[in-house]
């Protein structure tokens, strides 16, 4: 299908949507994100229903420390911005720049994931706040852990894309793939903003 678009005068302005295949990927991925939104909404609903069901375990305001979560948020928001920079570079056909921004995105994501693992480990060891402690703990680890699993999946995905397109330049075949991966990364970021608000701010504030 890529052959149908004339690339002799450089890439079109939207290389990710220039072919039918690209258009299909683009639209299909938006629908996928729609489904993901509903799935996360369900876990958010469950968390909101159970956030005060602490049983004999610790409550949220005993656990959460905002400085750590604030740093994590800043790192993830920045990584979303670097993936935007990568997409700008892609549309200007600057392959090396795009790859650089993508690699920075992955590194920031790794730091975020590391901090999240530290956070969970800290709760389990210092507060005996495990997955099976209370309804609140189960809901917390399910929601935040699912987000963490998404981060991990996104990191593997983008890394795989970087390795396999190393030195290949931007083509109409790989442009939609990079674009869709960056959409996914933004989605992870948006979900985190809600987690930051609903889980951590509301939890630490006691509301």
């Amino acid at each position: 299908m890529a052959g149908a678009v004339d690339t002799s005068k450089g890439l079109p302005s939207h290389p990710e949507r220039a072919t039918l295949e690209g258009k299909n990927k683009f639209l299909g991925f938006w629908f996928f994100l729609g489904g993901e939104t509903i799935m996360f909404a369900t876990f958010f609903g469950t968390y909101l229903g159970l956030r005060n069901g602490v049983g004999s375990g610790p409550a949220s305001d005993e656990l959460f420390t905002l400085p750590l979560v604030f740093i994590m948020t800043m790192i993830l928001l920045t990584s979303s911005m670097t993936s935007v920079m990568a997409m700008f570079a892609m549309k200007k056909n600057q392959f090396k720049k795009m790859m650089t921004w993508m690699i920075i995105t992955v590194l920031l994501g790794l730091v975020f994931l590391g901090l999240e693992i530290y956070e969970f480990q800290h709760y389990v060891h210092d507060y005996e706040f495990g997955f099976t402690t209370s309804a609140f703990s189960s809901a917390f680890y399910t929601l935040v852990g699912l987000h963490g699993a998404h981060v991990l999946f996104g990191l593997c995905w983008i890394t795989l894309l970087i390795i396999r397109n190393w030195g290949k330049g931007i083509t109409l075949t790989n442009a939609p793939k990079f674009y869709v991966a960056s959409l996914y990364w933004h989605f992870i970021d948006v979900v985190w903003v809600f987690i930051f608000t609903v889980v951590y701010l509301m939890g630490a504030g006691g509301y």
């Binding site: 299909n24 299909g28 799935m39 369900t42 229903g49 159970l50 997955f131 099976t132 189960s138």
Partner: protein, 624 residues
Amino acid sequence: MASYKKEKGVVWDWLTTVDHKKLGIMYLIAGTLFFLKAGLMAVFMRIQLIMPENSFLTGQTFNEFITMHGTIMLFLAATPLLFAFMNFVIPLQIGARDVAFPFVNALGFWIFLSGGLLLSTSWFFGGGPDAGWTAYVPLSLNEEQLGLDFYVLGLQVSGIGTLISAINFLVTIINMRAPGMTMMRLPLFVWTSFVTSTLILFAFTPLAAGLALLMLERIFDAQFFNPAAGGNVVIWQHIFWIFGHPEVYILVLPAFGIISEVIPAFSRKRLFGYTAMVFATMIIAFLGFMVWAHHMFTVGIGPVANSIFAIATMTIAVPTGIKIFNWLFTMWGGKITFNTAMLFASSFVPTFVLGGVTGVMLAMAPVDYLYHDTYFVVAHFHYIIVGGIVLALFAGLFYWYPKMFNHKLNEKLGVVFFILFTIGFHLTFFVQHFLGLMGMPRRVYTYLGGQGLDEFNMISTIGTFFMSAAVIVLVINIVYSAIKGERVIGINDPWDARTLEWATPTPVPEYNFAQTPQIRSLDPLFYEKVHGDGTMKPAEPVDDIHMPNGSILPVIISIGLYFLGFGLIMLEMAEPIVSPWIVVALGGLLTFGGMAMRSLKDDHGYHIPKSVVKADLKKLGGGK
């Protein structure tokens, strides 16, 4: 890339196919097998209930049958049977060569199948799930047997397949339409499939989340539903029904679509009120999400919530009524041909109305306290599901059979099938309304004699024998027609129908349309018959056709998911043969390895050269 079609064995060809037509037939076969299995369970349950204090089945077996009957019928029979028609028909009706993601389409089928098989594996490990198809907690947290683990993971896996298929349909319908096929010229079956796919996207995801919660609770000891640790049991019901109510419309909207295709074709009139039908479909879909708590009137969520959900529920009767009247007006004054497809389609209308009326009765919260968990509810939803969806499926089967299998089903046997099924259906379920009003509870494996329940139960069971006989006639019909049925090879349009799928040659070539057609109206083929020369105008010159390559990866990925699920269930087994984590790792390796292989290897498909297309055109094009 340019290599033209390699010769492959038949089995390998079907295992690796990404052709939407073959996948449609595969969905049809798999769905039919599950339909027969769940139907047989229903017959066994009715035999148990034929007389008071019968001991044909034990209570435990009855519970397992009732759970599996519901679960299989909804997830593994009705949904895939509708998907069979969607897969086969949608690309043909919108003038597309293929779906948007052929690989994902194949993956969806195989994942659905592996989820279904995972669920069925439960019989070999201590029996099926036994907590009802709704799996209400805390009943479903009973850890004595593994059935519920199979339920949770089997549905989780098969749900992924349904979800990705839905996304595929959505993108196909938006991006792959032929020139001139505007959204308001889409056949109604495509419209209803489109809305259904949206519903799947937004309803199956809460189900996935809910099943994950139940899985975590059962296998990893989470505390969501444990009140002692701050949990709440009603959460499951909310999540289940915010999926479960839209699920009704997921099934019934494509059934409406089939009816809206069959009735105009055999009334020789265009569908009355096309635009109203489209918007009624959307309104029904929207309201379908707003009414989930009408399943929970007796849970105790309070009078205000009950009132709101009662009124929202009754509102659905309005767009549904619009549809019913539009079908009647389509038939009104039409030149009606009563063949089997039309018999099923026209009997659908009053039968579905009966189910709708009892729906409004159930929507009244105060009286629902009386009906709740009685046979009245059973009668109501079987009038919707059998009297709605199954009748439409039979209509669709007889209607599209010539296009799918190149021969017609026998009409005489078809009419016998219709008569037996209709008698059996009403005998079985009509009297259940009265059983319910007399207070016979559902889901209970027996009842005491001398309470006035005996005769109606006897009648109800006899009805199932009629339906069984009908299904046997259908099977005979399929076999007989395959051998002696009227061939339609070379006849593109055996029904003198209206929509685009009948403009393709029979048998349909793998690329569907040698030249993409130019669409000039709603009911495009009929328009060309009246205003043109009866064939579609091409929108492009004859050229090489790009086709996707087949792939074995969908099968590998689904086998991986099967073992992932099975490994997690093994964690609950008392003495697993191998370490469960080995099985989980193996499954994960197959699944994610398959996914990685897919993404690492660019597959550009192949081209069918112009010369072959031209030769085909000469050979097949002369049908009309």
